[in-house]
Amino acid sequence: MINTILIVDDSPVARRMLKTCIPKDKGYEIFEAGNGQEGFEKYKELHPDIVFMDLTMPVMDGYQATAKIKEFDKEAIVIVTTADIQPKSIASVMELGAFTLLKKPAKTESIQEAISKVEIKMKKLQEK
């Protein structure tokens, strides 16, 4: 069951856009971080069920932050949300172990579909 979501993006506007795409009736607790370093620190503190991760950020970018989170917790669910949709960028984040990559701007359908896929994965893991 998904309880907590962490949004990592340097753009307050992008975080606002993404938040509006997350269903409000599920009672998710949403946390935010403004760069990859802050995102990693918050991951360690909060252990969120899903991380939405931007790629191009100051201090620590999304590639490094995803790598650090996956190193800390190999089961972490990191959904990359980015404007950088070059094939090599997509391949790189998937190699790092991202759950999926969603193209910006955030769209309600794609965000909810990704959350549903995470729910299915978590359910399957619980059934094992």
Binding site: P12, V13, Q86, K104
Partner: protein, 214 residues
């Protein structure tokens, strides 16, 4: 009177425009990747509101022209109106052309080499400026028409020619994105300049865009 204060473009509006520029340039690089095997490392866009009278100084400072820059310029018209400038180190056109056509013969000199380099710059410029401005326009629910791109090269330290269609007493919004073509280690940047008459429309369009997320 400060030109920036006079048009009252808020930090929130700048943040929205920054995110839109980020999305647009990301899409433009993906479009480029469809045509050529190139990987573009992106940076966070920077948005500034500048008096047109200050723009030549801004460009001179930003481009740091010592005769070592090549600039592709493309104008666009519509509700969203202005110029796109793609700035590369001089001489990089030949490297860029090699991405576009790996069978081409680059062992030319003089005029032939300059023509080839110009061709490479124009092609990359056309894709990146067109795709970026096009995506901004799409996100803001409008459309623009373009002039053909042109290469501006040389030792000119006077950037007035870049802004000759702007009113010097008015204000422009400058959106800047720095990028690196990783394989060739070529750094460049894209500037999108919008003129004063677009600003009221732009502000309204930005709020309508965010309104779809409320």
């Amino acid at each position: 009177m400060n030109q920036e204060a006079s048009i009252n473009f808020s930090e929130d509006e700048k943040d929205i425009l920054q995110e839109i520029m980020n999305i647009a340039f990301g899409n433009a690089t993906a479009d480029l990747a469809e045509v050529v095997d190139i990987y573009v490392m992106l940076s966070i866009p920077n948005i500034q509101v500048i008096g047109i009278g200050e723009l030549p100084f801004y460009l001179k400072d930003t481009i740091k022209d010592d005769g070592e820059s090549s600039i592709v310029e493309q104008k666009f018209w519509g509700n969203f109106k202005g110029s796109g400038l793609l700035v590369f180190p001089s001489g990089s056109g030949k490297d860029l052309l090699a991405f576009l056509d790996d069978r081409a013969d680059y062992h030319h000199e003089g005029t032939a080499a300059a023509t080839l380099e110009k061709g490479g710059l124009l092609e990359i410029g056309n894709i990146l400026i067109g795709a970026c401005v096009g995506k901004v326009s799409e996100l803001l629910s409008t459309f623009v028409t373009y002039s053909p791109p042109q290469v501006l090269q040389g030792k000119s330290s006077d950037y007035n020619y870049l802004i000759e269609h702007f009113d010097p007493l008015q204000t422009a919004i400058v959106m800047k994105t720095i990028f690196t073509f990783k394989e060739k280690d070529i750094n460049g940047f894209l500037l999108i300049l919008t003129n004063h008459e677009s600003i009221d429309w732009l502000r309204k369009a930005l709020h309508e865009f965010m309104g779809t997320y409320e």
